[in-house]
């Protein structure tokens, strides 16, 4: 498999009249993490959604493994996991059902693997509980379980550690460390320090 690299080249994007991305560019080699920093509203979310192919930049290009992602957008999106502000969970389904229906549409998911995913984030006790009854931190852990089950080369994370205590933040750090250890990539918009990651690229988005 050619090495996973993610390049963004001269990305320009407007949201209404605001010029949100002004010539953003970076190159992220395999096994590396890119930390997006910057105040609220400086375009971190817009950049992540543009990288994921949800938003269409008016100028510039995104390349993954050397190929323009727009060439085969569906295949590219199949090889990435995007976690937005809200954990993508239905309130009226249990944690297990949510993972079954969310990750199950992406890859074959056995019960054992599902349980292991929940165990990995310390949420196996929540498996049978309706997401409606879970706290924000617990929901975030179920979402992180989904992320770890995705088994994809590219992670795009928007504030992955919101609503998590320090132990939860360490969990996010270790999950990303594993992703990098597997030769994958991670782009994360974060406010706090990502513990245990060693060399981390940083991209500051100006106001």
């Amino acid at each position: 498999m050619s090495p996973n690299t993610l390049e963004a080249e001269n990305l320009h994007l407007w949201r209404g009249d605001r010029h949100v991305l002004r010539g953003v560019g970076f190159s992220l080699p395999a096994g590396q993490c890119l930390k997006l920093t910057g105040a609220n509203g400086t375009g971190k979310t817009s950049l992540l959604r543009t990288l994921a192919g949800l938003m269409y930049p008016e100028e510039g290009r995104v390349r993954f493994c050397g190929a323009d992602v727009r060439a085969d957008l569906r295949a590219f999106q199949g090889s990435l996991a995007y976690l937005g502000h809200e954990p993508p969970l239905k309130a009226d389904l249990t944690a297990r059902e949510n993972l079954r229906y969310w990750i199950g549409t992406r890859r074959r998911l056995s019960d054992a693997l599902l349980r292991a995913g929940l165990a990995r984030v310390g949420a196996e006790a929540l498996a049978g509980r309706l997401v409606r009854t879970l706290s924000a931190g617990q929901r975030r852990r179920v979402a992180l379980a989904g992320l770890s089950l995705c088994a994809v080369p590219l992670w795009l994370l928007d504030e992955p550690a919101t609503n998590l205590d320090t132990e939860g933040q360490a969990l996010v750090g270790s999950l990303i460390a594993e992703q990098l250890a597997r030769g994958g990539l991670a782009v994360a918009a974060v406010h706090h320090e990502l513990s245990g990651l060693g060399a981390v690229h940083q991209l500051e988005l100006a106001a």
Partner: protein
């Protein structure tokens, strides 16, 4: 070579300048054709043997009805081009078309019912052509309502483009089902709003009016297109020079 022609039509400054230059070349001929059509239709053409002078309404009804459908198809074609090749100018064309088409659909509806009144004794009759025209008006209102509902121009362009394409696919289906429905329930005795058989002296003015209205649409479209292009160009440097012209 042909591709660069098409490519240049995608660049806002080129289209803006082209629109500015072409407008008078469409507007004045349109005025002349319409005046000639009026003179022919109102003065030269003999009265119809059945409807007498009442048939002269056709010289405004038929062009308006033709406009309502032609403008909608133009809008849908521009929307499709904008959607497939992501050309902003095509979306600007579609946005410019909608109000023109909608206003002439209203004209077609009112002149149609005024023309039908002497025949039917009432102002509204569920005639298949008038009913299809009414549905077309709702398609226009739906298109403009969707555009107004979305703030972000780029998203409004693309969402309304999908609606326009879906709409144009449905126009023949709606027209067929309305005609089928009408033929089912309509007592054959009531005369339908059909064009009477027309002698050359009656037909020529109608063709002049149709051509005049089409050129008028071209002129109106180009003026509105410039406005839509400006709205989509934010603070692009080429605007300064274009506005100075």
């Amino acid at each position: 070579m042909s591709f660069t022609w098409f490519h240049r039509l995608g660049s806002p400054p080129y289209v803006y300048a082209l629109a500015q230059r072409l407008t008078p070349w469409l507007a004045w001929p349109a005025a002349l054709l319409i005046l000639a059509g009026l003179w022919g239709g109102l003065v030269l053409a003999p009265p119809d043997y059945q409807q007498g002078d009442g048939f002269r309404i056709i010289y405004v009804h038929a062009p308006s009805a033709w406009m309502s459908l032609m403008v909608y198809t133009t809008m849908a074609a521009a929307a499709a081009v904008g959607l497939i090749w992501r050309i902003k100018v095509a979306h600007a064309v579609a946005a410019a078309c909608a109000p023109i088409g909608a206003s002439f659909t209203v004209a077609a509806l009112v002149t149609g019912s005024l023309w039908g009144q002497p025949m039917w004794g009432t102002y509204w009759q569920w005639d298949p052509r008038l009913t299809s025209e009414l549905v077309l008006l709702f398609l226009y209102l739906g298109y403009m309502g969707l555009r107004a509902g979305i703030e972000d121009t780029q998203r409004a362009d693309r969402a309304s483009a999908v609606l326009a394409v879906v709409g144009v696919v449905n126009v023949p289906v709606i027209h067929y089902s309305v005609t089928w429905w009408n033929s089912l329930h309509q007592a054959p005795s009531v005369m339908r709003l059909a064009k009477p058989t027309m002698a050359a002296s009656m037909l020529v003015p109608l063709l002049l009016m149709l051509a005049g209205f089409t050129l008028l649409f071209g002129a109106l479209l180009l003026v509105r297109l410039r406005a839509e292009i400006l709205a989509r160009e934010r603070a692009n440097p080429w605007l300064k020079e274009a506005l100075a012209r």
